[in-house]
């Protein structure tokens, strides 16, 4: 029997036996007059309850009042019962710490994106969980150990302010930064002289506008901006048009060769003085710092901060991109020659510098290389693998790693991703990964 029966007479509204005055009315718990409430518990009209009422019920229940602690909490629905007044959100450790330390956390996203919750540094996916159980919310309640043991019973009224059937589950996720690139691509910076020209029509975003649209924490947005070749100009964040950025870097490299800065380090003040006439200072600074070796900079003095050592790998990568972008498939040997010739004297090119940016087909005759950047691939793991297997049916571990490494975290390694999303097979003794989908 699924139904829970409740029996009562005398009052059509369903009087609770104990709520009746037992001196004047008999109490009838006759189970032969059932009221079926469809698997649900039935509740009754309010009366002011006395110890007598409570003990009376206990007696019917064949329970001994002495077996219970002296305080009875009578639960009532609040007069202002409001089930939608509150929402429940599961907190995991970092989120709770963030809240308790006074950090403001935010819900962010465009309509249709699904909500995320961000702290200063982390992003959480929000999923609504429903339960068929009822959660009665009570702002104040005593638990067993809180109740002193006294001889006399006492009654406390407790109010249920809402009944809740759902809560939000939060799960830490990687920031969704594809939107950041998409938004900033609406109007890339092509140089001061192009501002206001016929192509300068896309929207430009302030950091605060990006916070509203991008589903990532502030720290993650900042990291994303730093990684993407962007610059804050006149209060708005701009993606640097690639050709434009290449021109700026070309001038920086020219100056470096003139002044022997590749060996001795670039002098920022001087660099800004010379190139400041041609380009906005922020952009020169950005191009220098983003192509320099990362300093363990915290302890540095101002004088040292002025000197930057350009990073060979970053410069070589940039020049390879310049070579390969928009040029389709390139004869590998021709490319390697042209690339080495394009880098400043003393720098050495190496294919490892451009992993995740270009693909090589060594089986083709002649071998070819083409631009294929991980930055332009989908962020969603499933979609990422789909796109990768469209590009190439079988991947070696070495080849695919740079294209999925950004999806890994402490728990999910490259191998774990491959186990889940790819099928391994042996080709000429080499382990290759292909799509799990059969077609």
């Amino acid at each position: 029997m699924d139904e829970i029966q409740i029996a009562s007479e005398k009052e059509q509204v369903g009087a609770l036996p104990g709520a009746l005055n037992s001196n004047t009315e008999s109490i009838d718990l006759d189970p032969s007059s059932p009221c079926i409430t469809d698997g649900n518990l039935a509740i009754n009209t309010p009366r002011s309850r006395s110890i007598l009422d409570i003990n009376h019920i206990l007696e019917f229940a064949k329970l001994e009042p002495a077996d219970f602690r002296s305080q009875v909490q009578c639960l009532y629905f609040s007069e202002q019962l409001e089930n939608d007044a509150i929402k429940l959100m599961e907190l995991d450790g970092p989120l709770q710490d963030a809240l308790k330390s006074g950090e403001r956390i935010e819900i962010r996203g465009d309509p249709g994106d699904g909500a995320v919750v961000v702290t200063g540094s982390q992003t959480f996916d929000v999923k609504e969980a429903e339960t068929s159980n009822s959660m009665l919310m009570i702002s104040s309640l005593s638990y067993g150990p809180d109740i002193p043991n006294e001889d006399d019973k006492s009654i406390i009224k407790r109010q249920v302010s809402s009944i809740v059937h759902n809560y939000y589950e939060l799960r830490p996720i990687k920031p969704r930064l594809a939107k950041l690139r998409a938004l900033l691509s609406e109007n890339p910076f092509r140089g001061s002289e192009c501002e206001g020209d016929e192509l300068d029509i896309g929207k430009k975003y302030t950091f605060s506008e990006l916070q509203q649209r991008v589903q990532a924490s502030d720290a993650e947005i900042k990291r994303g901006l730093a990684k993407m070749n962007t610059c804050e100009l006149k209060g708005v964040w701009r993606l640097l048009d690639f050709e434009y950025a290449a021109t700026v870097l070309y001038h920086i490299l020219q100056l470096c060769e003139e002044r022997d800065w590749l060996q001795n380090g670039l002098n920022m003040t001087e660099c800004l003085q010379v190139l400041g006439e041609l380009f906005p200072i922020e952009i020169i600074k950005h191009m220098v710092t983003s192509h320099s070796n990362e300093n363990p900079d915290t302890m540095e003095t101002d004088a040292q901060k002025n000197i930057y050592n350009l990073c060979e790998d970053k410069i070589c990568k940039h020049l390879a991109e310049l070579c390969l972008k928009n040029s389709g498939k390139f004869n590998l040997n021709d490319f390697l020659r042209a690339w080495q010739e394009s880098v400043p004297d003393g720098m050495k090119t190496n294919l490892s510098q451009i992993e995740g940016m270009a693909l090589v087909d060594s089986d083709a005759r002649p071998p070819v290389i083409w631009y294929y950047s991980v930055d332009l691939l989908p962020e969603d793991v499933g979609e990422r693998f789909e796109v990768l297997f469209e590009e190439r049916k079988k991947w070696s571990l070495e080849d695919i790693t740079p294209y999925i490494r950004d999806l890994t975290d402490e728990k999910t390694t490259v191998n774990a991703l491959l186990t889940k999303y790819a099928r391994a097979s042996l080709t000429n003794g080499i382990k290759m990964f292909s799509s799990r989908k059969t077609n």
């Binding site: 829970i4 369903g14 036996p17 649900n40 309010p46 009875v72 709770q96 962010r108 759902n166």
Partner: protein, 134 residues
């Protein structure tokens, strides 16, 4: 676009923890009348601190359970609202689409709940013999 903030109000750092009583199924009255103000039942604790809830003539034996993850109780803060009437205050969802009209929404944490009283067994009916009238 949405940007709703959630924070613990600074003025009451010592928040009192709320309680959750979790029951299987729903509570209903026999007739479709509002639940507001209605009596639900008596909550007792045994000397061994086990909760016993009597609703109508059903006895529920439960236990106090520590939540795996604490639950924050969020309530909309009204003081920041410029255009309260524009917003779907009764919305069931935190999802952005319900709040497209404004991004000045803010929630505050009323309390963080770490345990609940769970009644997960089927309620036992009180089977009473009808008292004899004298």
């Amino acid at each position: 676009m949405v940007r709703a903030t959630i924070e613990i109000p600074r003025d009451n750092a010592e928040q009192k923890e709320w309680a959750i009583i979790e029951l299987q199924g729903d509570l209903e009255t026999r007739h479709p009348v509002p639940l507001s103000g209605k009596f639900i039942g008596d909550l007792h604790f045994t000397h061994k601190d086990a909760p016993v809830l009597i609703i109508g003539h059903h006895i529920l034996h439960g236990k106090v359970v520590t939540l795996e993850k604490p639950l924050a109780v969020l309530a909309k803060s009204l003081e920041h609202h410029v255009n309260v009437q524009d917003m779907d205050v009764t919305s069931d969802s935190l999802s952005p689409k319900h709040e497209a009209s404004s991004h000045s929404v803010s929630y505050h944490v009323e309390t963080i709940i770490t345990k609940k009283i769970l009644f997960k067994t089927r309620p036992k009916p009180i089977i009473a013999h009808v008292p004899k009238k004298l």
